[in-house]
């Protein structure tokens, strides 16, 4: 297993290299010029050119790419064109809110979606199943921002239970941290809960028709034991897969959620950087997200071996 993990980690390097080349090339050929944005409307073409020179944007593609790769290899993601702050520091500032949002959303999803999917499968065809699946369709169909505004209206403006916006770090206390994350996590989690609940139901339905489930029932095992110990474990592979895939959804959804709830996370940083053509920041974030995605896939593969001992690499 260890050698497999090592092999997979090494295999991520060419993937990351291709991502890096792709991202860098895409930004190079994309229209827009950060020097123009910096210089402002009053600037002359000479001013813009001087700014471009001072930022090194007038150098040939290969020189710029080589210099960027060299810095990356030395652990330096570069400096933001606009803020003049190290990209790593900017990502560090924003990582906490995004990680918090993703973790709370993920936990909420697992805690809500998996039991819902199990119950829906257990009561397949019943009213409960229809209600749960109806909720799933609803959750999957509603855009995150609509859910976000509705939640903010009800729980912040009407009931005044929770704040409308912002983020408080965990170091300021558990409740202040959590109260800022509840509404965004529910808004972001809706789609994800719907997806995981549907997959769980489908996987459980298949497993519940297996002979060993009938045997378990014949042995007199309790319903809970059959569902959550025998059936769920055997249905876990597709569920784990979709949870992993869903992390990509979370990354995308975080961009909107962070804007709606004014959370200073990586999603907002990404949008701001794209609109201003802050190339080093965009490159740094895309590399980070790519790495996270590759890592999540690796973790899913490892989890497969835990839930299904027949899987070996």
């Amino acid at each position: 297993m260890l050698s497999y993990i090592l092999r997979r980690v090494v295999a991520t390097l060419p993937v990351m290299a291709i991502v890096a080349l792709f991202v860098f090339s895409l930004l190079y050929i994309a229209p827009g010029d950060p020097a123009v944005v910096i210089a402002g409307d009053q600037a002359s073409p000479e001013d813009v050119e001087r700014i471009r020179q001072s930022l090194g944007l007038n150098r040939p593609f290969l020189v710029q790419f080589g210099s960027w790769v060299w810095r990356i290899l030395h652990g330096d993601l570069g400096t933001s064109i606009f803020t003049n702050l190290p990209v790593s520091a900017m990502i560090g500032q924003r990582l906490g809110p995004t990680l918090s949002l993703m973790i709370v959303t993920l936990l909420l999803t697992i805690v809500v979606a998996v039991p819902l999917g199990v119950v829906a499968a257990w009561k397949a065809g019943s009213l409960i199943d229809r209600v749960i699946m109806g909720f799933a369709v609803f959750g999957f169909s509603l855009p995150v921002f609509v859910v976000g505004y509705m939640l903010a209206y009800i729980f912040a403006l009407e009931l005044e239970w929770l704040p409308v916006q912002g983020y408080t770090p965990l170091s300021s206390g558990f409740w202040p941290w959590l109260e800022n994350l509840i509404l965004p996590a529910v808004a972001l989690g809706c789609v994800y809960i719907a997806l995981v609940a549907r997959i769980t139901r489908a996987a459980m339905l298949e497993v519940l028709q297996q002979d060993y489930i009938r045997t378990a029932k014949a042995k007199g095992l309790g319903q809970g034991g059959i569902l959550f110990i025998h059936a769920l474990k055997n249905a876990a592979v597709p569920i784990v897969t979709v949870i992993g895939i869903g992390i990509a959804l979370l990354i995308g959804g975080a961009v909107v959620t962070e804007s709606v709830f004014a959370i200073p996370g990586l999603g907002r940083l990404t949008i701001d950087a794209i609109l201003r053509r802050d190339y080093p920041v965009i490159q740094g974030i895309v590399l980070l997200f790519s790495f996270v995605y590759v890592l999540v896939n690796l973790m899913i593969d490892v989890v497969y071996t835990l839930v299904d001992p027949r899987i070996r690499y």
Partner: protein, 533 residues
């Protein structure tokens, strides 16, 4: 149903629910010594000379003081300067600083700091560049006196040092001001009434300013950038909110105290809340515009440009930008900001009255237009440009023009508009923008009105008549001469259609009613603003 409709509906519902029944909100117990402010945009950098965005200027006005400050009557007033003298021939200016001025690190403000600051500023500012071109020497005479010797008079010297247009002549310590003007500073030690808390700065999310207790305000009443800048709170927090509905909800909920620029759609909701005050923020407003490329057909022919102007309905543009609130816009048959001393409608008949499409089509045909595509750049991520672009596309189609509508983002427009290549080869025929009214009160900061061909702003208009009157204004010795020059300038610029003004529009600002002292102006002024619990 789009996102904007949803947020408007929900914010509206929230507003109705709160009207008259607002209970104390969660965050209202926060210290009355901290003012929480939602700025118009993200403070992405903090060098007001290197980056000329208005949001940077607005923040910098708290942190760095200026030698002179423009007041609400648009006149320059002494600020850091105690006195000035100018020789009879107008070529030598001698300035003396007020005593007791200090930087945020406790060091005194000295003439050498001023000389370094003005040197950096004059390398980037259009008026500074004009002074620099005339400069013989700029030297520190002693710790509080400095001298600017010119080769010929520059009558607008005090205005240049006082103006609120970006970049302003902010005074920094010499060691910071010696930074290349094309490189960003990293040290934010200022001379103004508030200190920048660099450690708390999260670009894109938050910026914090703390009261500088050693600041020595002037004794006069504050008026815009002039007078006594008394800070009445300990801390000002800028909280960046990209989503207007969130900002509206946060203001209603008491999580923020002041929202600089609420969008027009949400203002009715805010007005219904008894805890919120709403008023026009900047009386100088904005001028909508689109620019035509004077280098290429069809708009290299003045008849084609005038044909567009003849058919253009400013009301259509203004309603597209600000909606049906007629208090927020007015027609503008000219180029200068309404209700300011130099406003003129000379030559503006072409923009007045019923729109004459038949005459416009005839004139367009006379210009030789024969159906070639007109590349119209429209930034979709800026509500103002998007609204104007949609109206223009409709206008051009009604004129029988073949519109190549390029829907893109502002970053792309920003770089593509600088291209002088033909429209089919990466260039363009039209793009939309707007100008702060504060930049359009006279020709000094008004880059967009210049018509000196290759050196002019994008579109590169070449109108010797316009340029002649710009020069006349700079040479004018009194207000009457200035007004006469501007009248001629306005007419010449309209005759040659330097650009197309689409109207004058205003925007609101909104605040919790426990905040007082907010004044109307071209930027948010934090001096004199206080907050009760």
């Amino acid at each position: 149903m789009d996102r904007r409709t949803v947020l408007k509906g929900l914010a509206g519902a929230g507003g109705l629910a709160l009207t008259g029944l607002s209970a104390p909100a969660i965050a209202q117990g926060a210290s009355a010594r901290t003012l929480r402010f939602v700025p118009q945009a993200n403070l992405a950098n903090f060098d007001p000379i290197w980056g000329t965005q208005y949001v940077v200027r607005n923040a910098a006005a708290m942190v760095w003081d200026t030698l002179y400050g423009i007041d609400s009557s648009l006149q320059p007033q002494r600020q850091m300067v105690e006195s000035e003298e100018v020789t009879d021939d107008g070529t030598t200016w001698t300035f003396k600083l007020r005593p007791g001025l200090k930087f945020h690190d406790g060091e005194p403000v000295l003439s050498k700091d001023v000389v370094a600051s003005l040197t950096r500023w004059s390398a980037r500012d259009p008026m500074g560049l004009m002074i620099k071109a005339l400069q013989q020497e700029l030297t520190a005479v002693d710790d509080r006196t400095f001298k600017w010797v010119l080769k010929q008079p520059f009558p607008k010297m005090l205005y240049a040092l006082a103006k609120n247009n970006s970049p302003c002549g902010f005074i920094m310590p010499e060691r910071i001001a010696q930074t290349d003007p094309f490189k960003q500073i990293t040290d934010y030690v200022g001379s103004g009434p508030m200190k920048f808390a660099k450690g708390e700065w999260v670009p894109g999310a938050k910026a914090v300013f703390e009261k500088f207790t050693d600041y020595v305000p002037r004794q006069e009443k504050a008026s815009w950038l002039a007078g006594g800048k008394q800070i009445l709170v300990d801390r000002v927090e800028w909280i960046v909110m990209p989503d207007p509905a969130t900002a509206a909800a946060a203001l209603q909920n008491g999580e923020v105290d002041w929202w600089e620029s609420p969008i027009a759609d949400l203002v009715p909701v805010l007005k219904k809340n008894k805890n919120i005050g709403v008023d026009i923020g900047d009386p100088l407003g904005n001028i909508g515009s689109f620019r035509m490329n004077h280098l290429f057909a069809p708009f290299n022919d003045v008849r084609a440009r005038r044909a567009v102007l003849m058919a253009l309905s400013q009301e259509d543009y203004m309603r597209a930008i600000v909606g049906d609130d007629t208090a927020l816009w007015k027609p503008l048959p000219g180029f200068f900001t309404p209700d300011t001393p130099l406003y003129s409608e000379a030559g503006g008949e072409i923009l007045k009255g019923k729109r004459d499409f038949d005459a416009a089509k005839k004139l367009l045909a006379e210009s030789g237009y024969s159906g070639q595509p007109v590349t119209c750049l429209v930034a979709q991520d800026q509500p103002i440009t998007k609204a104007q672009g949609d109206v223009t596309a409709d206008l051009l189609k009604k004129l029988g023009m073949n519109v190549d509508f390029v829907a893109t983002d502002w970053g792309t427009v920003g770089s593509r508009r600088a291209q002088k290549t033909p429209p089919g080869q990466g260039g363009w025929n039209m793009f939309h923008t707007w100008h702060a009214g504060a930049d359009c009160i006279n020709p000094a900061p008004y880059t967009a009105i210049r018509a000196n061909g290759d050196k002019a702003w994008f579109g590169w208009p070449n109108s010797p008549g316009t340029e002649k009157e710009v020069a006349s204004w700079f040479e004018a010795k009194n207000l009457d001469e200035e007004k006469a020059a501007i009248g001629r300038l306005n007419k010449a610029a309209l005759d040659d259609v330097v650009y197309a003004p689409t109207g004058f529009f205003l925007s609101y600002t909104a605040w919790r009613k426990n905040v007082s002292g907010i004044t109307k102006g071209p930027l948010p002024f934090f001096w004199g603003v206080s907050k009760s619990a």
